[in-house]
């Protein structure tokens, strides 16, 4: 198999710039102008790429995904020959055309059409050659009347279209695209996918970086996942993007869950009446639990302690899901009158039979009220799990809904 691109053990190291210390004498004046004093920093190193190796053959459509700062753009820059690796080797065999910055090659004062001509000229095509394809290019770009307007009036999506049109018709052997395609709309993505497939069927190589994972799956035959400068996955786009998504989702969830649990406050107005703790459990096992199953009989226990009772109290309970959905707000007084004669340790229980909350992470918060003022509050976190996922969606509530079907009489209809 003849490889057109071969990358072996490539590393790329950047030195981060330091800030300049400002002249001492000028500081008062500069402070007036709103300039902040920065201490001088030392030189810092950043490993943008760390031991990356892969090869690409003819006809491959390769997508590169990864988080911000993972090294994707750096890799493209190395492949384009714009920068050199600090270590390892990059071998590229073929004519490379790189679109690394949106619109960099576009002259703002010229019209779209004129830019197409100009770009073709820069690529070494004669005017006659361009004339022959200009109509097809215009049709491909699909910019309507804007094609004869100066490029400075274009939105970024339109610039991307124009630049991409130019790229496609240049027909390079190796095409590198950096994050340009995500600004195009749905129809453009489809066109771009089709164009890329055609290019690659002719034996060309396209490598593109994008955050738009759907387009990655439809456009590419192979996907590389870069993380912190390292190549962590290389394979089928659907699989790699799914794994990437899952990882991002898990990390975000963990972050949100951490923030979520930090929100719960335990507080009391004075020590006289307090909520000692709030616990959750089910009839499956005795004692408190932190995980409940959908549909079982569950309870929420609120333990109060009062050194002396002061009038009638009320208890308010609410449960909130991780994403902020408040799933219930219940009051003792709605069904049981006033909570009176609190003395010593008192336990109040709210039973759910069945527990209809769907899977998720929840927080339950109990508030003790005295004449509509909160005198104490406490909460707890719990998780709900289900044995299987429902078909058709994930509802917030798994209520025991029954469906029956019986014949009806037509005469009853209006």
């Amino acid at each position: 198999m003849s490889y057109r691109i071969r990358v072996e053990g490539v590393t790329k190291r950047y030195e981060l710039t330091t800030s300049r210390p400002l002249p001492r004498a000028a500081r008062p004046l500069l402070r007036l102008l709103g300039v902040r004093h920065q201490a001088a920093r030392g030189v810092d190193h950043k490993m943008a790429l760390d031991g990356v190796s892969f090869s690409v053959t003819e006809g491959e459509r390769v997508g590169i995904i990864g988080e911000n700062g993972a090294g994707k753009s750096t890799l493209l820059h190395l492949l384009a020959g714009v920068a050199a690796p600090t270590g390892g080797s990059v071998e590229v065999d073929g004519r490379v055309h790189a679109a690394l910055t949106l619109g960099l090659a576009l002259r703002e004062d010229l019209t779209g059409r004129e830019n197409l001509y100009l770009d073709a000229e820069v690529q070494g095509r004669t005017r006659a050659e361009t004339d022959a394809v200009i109509d097809r290019m215009t049709a491909f770009a699909d910019l309507g009347d804007f094609i004869v307007q100066p490029v400075r009036t274009y939105s970024s999506g339109m610039k991307a279209r124009l630049a991409f049109t130019s790229l496609v018709f240049v027909e390079p052997e190796i095409l590198l695209i950096d994050e340009m395609l995500s600004v195009g709309d749905y129809w453009f993505s489809q066109k771009a996918t089709h164009a890329v497939r055609e290019l690659c069927s002719k034996g060309r190589i396209v490598m593109l970086v994008s955050h738009n994972l759907e387009s990655m799956v439809s456009m590419c035959s192979r996907c590389l996942w870069l993380d912190g400068g390292r190549l962590v996955a290389d394979g089928d786009p659907a699989e790699v993007t799914a794994a990437y998504r899952e990882r991002v989702r898990q990390r975000d969830e963990a972050e949100t869950a951490a923030k979520f649990s930090a929100l719960g406050q335990d507080w009391a107005l004075d020590g006289a009446v307090r909520i000692k703790r709030v616990t959750v459990g089910s009839s499956r096992r005795p004692g408190p639990a932190s995980v409940l199953s959908v549909g079982e009989e569950a309870w929420i226990s609120v333990e109060l302690s009062a050194d002396r009772s002061r009038g009638d109290h009320d208890l308010r309970l609410w449960i909130e899901r991780l994403d902020g959905l408040r799933v219930t707000e219940n009051r003792w007084s709605e069904s049981c009158g006033a909570l009176s004669s609190l003395a010593g340790r008192v336990e109040v229980v709210a039973e759910m039979a069945p527990m209809i909350l769907g899977p998720g992470l929840y927080r339950v918060q109990a508030e003790l009220l005295n004449a509509e003022t909160t005198v104490a509050t406490a909460g707890a976190m719990f998780k709900v799990v289900a044995e299987r996922n429902l078909v058709g969606g994930q509802p917030a509530l798994w209520a025991p809904i029954e469906v029956s079907c019986r014949p009806r009489i037509a005469a009853a209809e209006r």
Partner: protein, 405 residues
Amino acid sequence: MPGSSGAGRLLTTAVPGAARGEETMARSVVECRDLSKTFVLLDGQSIWPVILGGDSVKGFPAVRDVTLQVRQGEFLGVLGRNGAGKSTLLRTLGGVYAPTSGTVRVAGPLSAIYELGMAGNELLTGHDFASRWLALHGTGRRQVDRLLSEIAEFAELGEYFDNPIYTYSAGMKARLFFSVATSLPGQIYLIDEVLSVGDEHFQTKCWRRLRERLAAGASGILATHDWTAVLKLCREACVLERGRIVDRGSSPAVVQRYLGLPQPRGDAAAFAAHLPSVYCALAEEDTTLSIPIDVKVASPVWFACSVESFRQGIGWSHLLQVEPRPIASTPGLYEVEVTIPTLPLSPGEYSLNLFLSERGAEQTLVPLDVRSWTYGNDLAFAVAGKPRESVSILPLRWRDGRTQS
């Protein structure tokens, strides 16, 4: 020429005679009527005859006769392809461009996040760009200092925050800009395409921030080609094509037409013609919904339904659901009864979605007839009762632990 959108002023360029419906204007936060913006095309033509008022000038009508209204607490979606005029419309509403004709009315300070809005001196560090932007938007020095650390954290630029912007990648620039532009807790937002920048993780953050602002009562306009964003954020939407509004209505309906999704025809089985468009129920009461269907074929027909509600910034969430199950397999008229014990929904309006389908190849379900927000023909489900803050009510039974019951 309208004045700049300064702090708290209502700005109007009144076209004489356009005074009808003044009272409805009061509750809207952004409103425009017959708004047009034509760019003068000067290429190849001299400016001087134009200024001296002589020649009629060739113009490019970027926005034509647009009438919109955004109500307090809502976001309006403006869908359109590249080049439809969305950016121009937003900038005209925001006061960057002066309208050629028509009126614009904005009830308060705007936070405008325009596409390509990060123009500026690239020698500035991210930090300086942020403080400059904030200063230009009227923020006092102390507040600037306080906001800067939040901006740095949100944009996740690390040490790059103190480096010149020309060292940033395109993604970093976009993150910086979004972070800065949404740092001021404003009330009225004009957002242009910027919600699709950055990786999934950053997008999640952006949406979270947007939801925070929404919870604080933000309103505004989202102009984008990304219909999924419109479905998440906006209850109502319109479509802009070549500067004109060509469609408007509820976002699911508009998106469905925009994408040209085919609707199932209901040949094999369908909901009866007299299917109500509204169902009513009482909160916390046992509820039965009767759904009449007509089955025309002798093969198993499957039924599913869901009750959903629209949460701004999140989109449509399922609250209750009935998984697809077979309900009939011989032709005839039927009544499907869906019984929900102790209806756990809070009083309010929900979307009831009904699905009739049949088994297709490889365990898939092929839709036969659908009433759903994705097709814009969902049913309304009105639940009455004492209003509550939570979206649902769990049927909890209280027990006093002191009495051993």
